[in-house]
């Protein structure tokens, strides 16, 4: 029932209207707690105070991939079920994903400078995130290139799915490329066994950023629905205005 209800954009708008303030509040509270925890977290014995960058870097990097997942699901919705909200969701998610990927890159770069002495290293992980960023931008360019959102949606959905299949391959090949060229990578973020002192603030920040994404995504979807509504109203106005 719930899913069918949501299929109607008007009902969806009403739901968003109701849920959004609470989501925003939850985001703000979690973010405040997370920030407080991050500030209170001790320095790492190896990385010193720079470990604090991890608390914002890792959630962004995680979201960078998660958002592509959301877009892939939406793409399936567009192609298979032709769900009216699926392409709205995909379109609204793309700029958010690009922003999170950008932040992951920038914070990673600012973390790398004091740790490795360089802002950028063509390390396998960073390189794949950069490729992901380029793919996000390409997707946004595709959305922008076509005036009619319904037509753009199908093209973008296909590209998103192809990207989803390709991303692991890209990651894999970049790993290979990197080990071929540059054995014994010295770059290791954090460590496998993360102390609770770091793990708890990290998880809190992870939750906070996820909530932030959900909030922004719903708000952006609402804007997109309104924009499309305006578009169709204007088309009607054009048809009537000639009389």
């Amino acid at each position: 029932m719930a899913v069918i209800d949501l299929a109607n954009p008007t009902r969806f708008l009403k739901l968003v209207e109701r849920v959004l303030p609470w989501l925003a509040l939850a985001t703000a509270v979690t973010l405040a707690i997370g920030l407080q925890q991050s500030l209170a977290a001790p320095d790492d014995y190896q990385q010193g105070a720079t470990v604090k960058i991890m608390f914002i870097h890792v959630p962004n990097a995680w979201l960078a991939m998660f958002v592509w997942g959301v877009m892939s699901l939406s793409a399936l919705g567009t192609l298979v079920w032709r769900h009216p909200l699926a392409d709205v969701s995909a379109q609204a998610a793309a700029p958010l994903g690009a922003a999170f990927t950008f932040l992951a890159l920038v914070t990673g770069s600012l973390w790398g400078r004091p740790m490795w002495g360089t802002y950028w290293e063509w390390d396998a992980r960073m390189t794949s995130v950069l490729v992901l960023f380029v793919m996000y931008l390409g997707l946004i360019a595709l959305w922008r290139a076509v005036e009619d959102p319904a037509r753009a949606a199908r093209a973008a959905a296909i590209l998103t799915l192809v990207g989803a299949i390709n991303l692991p391959i890209i990651k894999f090949s970049v790993d290979w490329w990197n080990t071929l060229h540059q054995p014994a990578s010295v770059l290791r973020a954090g460590g496998p066994a993360l102390d609770n002192a770091f793990l708890i603030p990290l998880l809190t920040m992870g939750v906070a950023f996820s909530l932030l994404f959900v909030t922004l995504h719903l708000a952006a979807m609402r804007n997109e629905i309104l924009r499309r509504r305006i578009r169709s109203l204007r088309m009607m106005q054009a048809a009537q205005g000639a009389a």
């Binding site: 950028w120 380029v134 990197n178």
Partner: protein
């Protein structure tokens, strides 16, 4: 004057709105630069040495890629007829279109150059040098490329033909652009000489480009 302002305004608006391609060139530039380490290997010392050349190649290819729509779009929708029948001299019209194109396609390339310089491990001075040479050199790319764009309209064929026509014309710009940036980074030659030549090339193209393009458009047969 207001006629040219109207043309400038229109071209910039069309480029920036949905369906315009102002940012595609920037994205292409980024893609080319990201591609290079995969081919050359992630060796930072090597990338630093090749950095200016990579950035210049990327910028050149990106500006080429966006150039083919310069007159072709107007030709397809019939507004080129209007431009030709205008009381504004066709040379000025061409120059204005080139300026609009440079503002929407060339300037973004220069804006992201610092970020790309970071990826190629260029230091601040080197990045600044490349950006400066791009500011001086990309107008030359646009104004010589315009000739090719006008020819492409004459022959009803854009894309690769345009690249084949324009690339040889742009070789001097590439040579002196890279020479000036390398001179600024490593020496031993002075930065001033190649940079002056680059500026001279740009200035010359301001004169030659519009006249040649206008001549091509006048020759156009339908």
């Amino acid at each position: 004057m207001s006629a040219l302002a109207a043309l400038l305004r229109r071209d910039i608006r069309v480029a920036l709105r949905v369906g315009g391609g102002a940012l595609i060139g920037m994205l292409f530039f980024l893609t080319v630069v990201v591609l290079m380490p995969f081919a050359l290997g992630p060796d930072l010392a090597l990338l630093r040495r090749l950095g200016p050349a990579i950035l210049w190649l990327g910028a050149m290819l990106a500006s080429l890629l966006t150039l083919d729509r310069l007159f072709l779009a107007d030709s397809e929708d019939g507004s080129l007829d209007l431009l030709v029948m205008s009381r504004t001299p066709l040379e000025l019209t061409c120059a204005t279109k080139a300026v609009a194109h440079w503002l929407t396609a060339g300037v973004p390339l220069i804006v992201i150059t610092p970020a790309l310089g970071l990826l190629l491990n260029l230091d601040l001075l080197a990045t600044a040098a490349v950006a400066l040479t791009l500011i001086a050199g990309t107008p030359a790319l646009t104004f010589t490329g315009m000739i090719g764009a006008a020819l492409a309209v004459t022959l009803h064929r854009g894309g690769l033909l345009l690249a084949v026509i324009v690339v040889p014309l742009s070789i001097p710009v590439l040579i002196f652009g890279v020479a000036a940036s390398t001179a600024a980074i490593t020496g031993p030659l002075s930065f001033g000489t190649p940079f002056s030549i680059l500026c001279a090339l740009s200035l010359a193209s301001f004169v030659i480009g519009p006249f040649a393009a206008a001549a091509c458009l006048r020759q156009r047969m339908d």
